[in-house]
Symmetry: C2
Subunit: 406 residues, 2 copies
């Protein structure tokens, strides 16, 4: 069994880096805060004798040797980067639960047959650099290294530049090694476990996600003398499209999700009709045909609103992460660990994307969810019960031990 | 008669300062470009023997003495600041038409009885600092000097700081002197004169303007696992309000105007429902009761959408510039000058706000409009015919001479 108090102390120590006045964290990918978080992680891993490797995407690998190091490793991990107004647990819990597993084994002097690998993936959130999960995506072969390095934030800085700047542009190739099984612990980020009073989510897969930049191009003109009928106003097109899209997405299915996370008007002057508005759009559905339907709905409505308003609407797909089903044996390892430990549990599909999605392309994978208060995440008020975090960590320990063999 | 070619050369020389690749100007208030434009204006005025005074709002006054300098002055002028993607004529024409009048009188050795005063007002556009016409507004007593100095741009810099930085924080009190009459020449910024093939707009007044910051406050949460019915999504509230507001404003009257010039989402991360969205809104109507109706419509719809979405909507009025009627004698001076000069003309109400609005609080005022291509303004493609600009300048000269007496 793991030490829940030690796990909690580590979470609270990491949460000090990039702590916000409202009690959350702003430790966005490849900022100075991210560097500080990585430094702390590396120090903690070295204290228990782990060797650290950094790959060319800045992914960090802490290895705990096994009895037979020719065997494929058992992997765990998640990410340390946060949303701009993020919480203390999203991602961090998966990393520090993995660390707690290693510390527990080290403390008890337990050696597994297979080596264990604890990973911190770069830029999982997709908040600073689009898309999400780009570090694990490059590692798993979904994206090229060039693509990964070339992703830019709003200020124009690239992942490659920022990795070099913070000293985490490693020399190891960003490509998979032999992995026997991988597990990622995470807060649920939704309300299901809490509402049903369950402690462990046995995660069977992840819903599909598609990201778009939707650009509305009008004609800038004066707010006063220009007659309404002479205008091509991108805000009118934006609101027309959003009204219809929200309505259709909600009517289609209770499982469908639409989020308009960012909006930008140019030139952004109150008494000038904007030349353009750019909308950062996120659509999700657990079923491939459901997600395809949302995709078609977006293009259909965009064409209609363009026709009706005269505002040119271009929809550029930024990212497509299709629905993923996790590995049967890994799911079973999580399930039987929860059962043996006596934790209430249920099978569930993740609503959020995770590094486990890309890891699952090259290795058998499952995930372990624990409840978070009110299902709230990507919010500074994100919170989770120490007892639940400890329970998830115990499940992780048991699942990893079962896979790595004693 | 004025020298149209010299006027055009001055306009083109000023347009080089802050010239944009797309052929417009970005010479926003109190930037380095604005300083350069002011420096050029001051040099030109000194070349014809004018004395320059700068007041504490950075308004520039170039005085051409009359025969009897105890008489109230006849004033003209406008502004040199532009929109971020502005044109070459908006404001600049009114300043350089005034300069051309002074140059013409100087060239012919004509001395008027009353002194003439040519003004450059600070931050007319309201693009960098809200509200518009704040330099003339402080001078005329509509705003206090403290209010004027404290207005801040999006980066948090204040008018007071920026005036000092560019060296145009003058020592003269920002308050009216005795003015016999004031005239402002300007491009129409709308399509009326061009469509009706007329050269001169005899401006009888300015429509009313109200500016608002509308803030939609929701709950930030994760784009994936959060069920749609658990969300308080500010973008949904924004699009719901805009859809209804555009529809009601347009249905109310062909004279009503609605513009959503700027939008900002916070924290602005694609996979997080925004915590808040702020909309910079501009409503206009030529009649006081029409504008009051639009104002009430905004508050009523905001309350409805707040009720329907659970998103808190606060409407903060930033600025109210009621409809203004200009002075009968000044209007007549413009009208009879256009008639005497044989230019086709019509009476019209301005759709844009102008410094003349605030000057009219303390002096008799009218304006002279000339056509601009396609009625387009607040756009880098803004353009006007040299012959029309010359005609407007001739009308200005005649109206000023009639008021200042030979
Ligand atoms: N877990 C998490 O917040 N991932 C970010 C990627 C996503 O938007 O689902
Ligand atoms: N003339 C002009 O563009 N003024 C700006 C103030 C307004 O928005 O009407």
């Amino acid at each position: 069994r793991v030490d829940g108090a030690r796990l909690w102390r580590s979470l609270m120590a990491m949460a000090e880096i990039g702590a916000t006045p409202a009690g959350g964290c702003n430790r966005q990918a490849l900022t100075d805060e991210d560097r500080e978080g990585r430094d702390l992680f590396v120090r903690w891993c070295r204290e228990i004798g782990c060797e650290i490797r950094v790959d060319r995407m800045g992914n960090l690998f802490a290895r705990r040797p096994g009895i037979d190091n020719s065997l494929p490793a058992v992997m765990t991990g998640s990410h340390l980067d946060t949303q701009p107004t993020g919480g203390k647990f999203d991602g961090v819990y998966g990393v520090l639960a993995g660390l707690e597993v290693l510390r527990t084994l080290e403390g008890k002097g337990v050696r597994t047959r297979a080596p264990l690998e604890l990973v911190v993936w770069t830029n999982e959130e997709g908040a600073r650099f689009s898309p999400a999960m780009v570090g694990s995506g490059v590692w798993a072969g979904e994206f090229s290294l060039e693509y990964g390095h070339s992703r830019r934030d709003k200020a124009g800085k690239s992942i490659g530049e920022e990795l070099a700047r913070i000293g985490y542009l490693g020399s190891e190739p960003a490509q998979p090694t032999q992995i026997k099984a991988a597990f990622e612990a995470h807060i649920e980020q939704g309300p299901v476990l809490e509402k049903q009073n369950q402690v462990i989510g046995v995660v069977t897969g992840v819903q599909g996600i598609r990201w778009y930049d939707v650009t509305f191009s009008g004609t800038p003109c004066h707010a006063g003398p220009t007659p309404m009928e002479d205008r091509r106003d991108p805000v009118q097109a934006l609101s027309g499209l959003c009204e219809r899209l929200y309505a259709e997405v909600k009517a289609y299915s209770g499982d469908a999700r639409i989020t308009c996370g960012d909006l930008r008007a140019e030139p952004g002057s109150r008494n000038t009709v904007p030349e353009k508005v750019v909308l950062a759009l996120d659509l999700r559905h657990p079923a491939p045909e459901g997600l395809a339907h949302l995709h078609r709905t977006l293009y259909r409505l965009a064409a209609q609103v363009q026709e009706a308003t005269g505002v040119a609407i271009t929809v550029r797909e930024e990212w497509h992460s299709p629905p993923v089903a996790f590995d049967k044996d890994c799911i079973e390892a999580v399930h039987s660990a929860a059962q043996r430990l006596g934790y209430s549990h249920r099978r569930m599909v993740s609503g959020a994307g995770h590094d486990a999605v890309y890891v699952s392309r090259v290795a058998p994978v499952s995930m372990i969810f624990v409840p978070c208060a009110g299902g709230l995440s990507h919010n500074e008020a994100e919170s989770a019960e120490p007892a639940h975090l400890e329970a998830g960590c115990n499940v992780l320990l048991q699942a990893m031990l079962a896979s790595a063999e004693l």
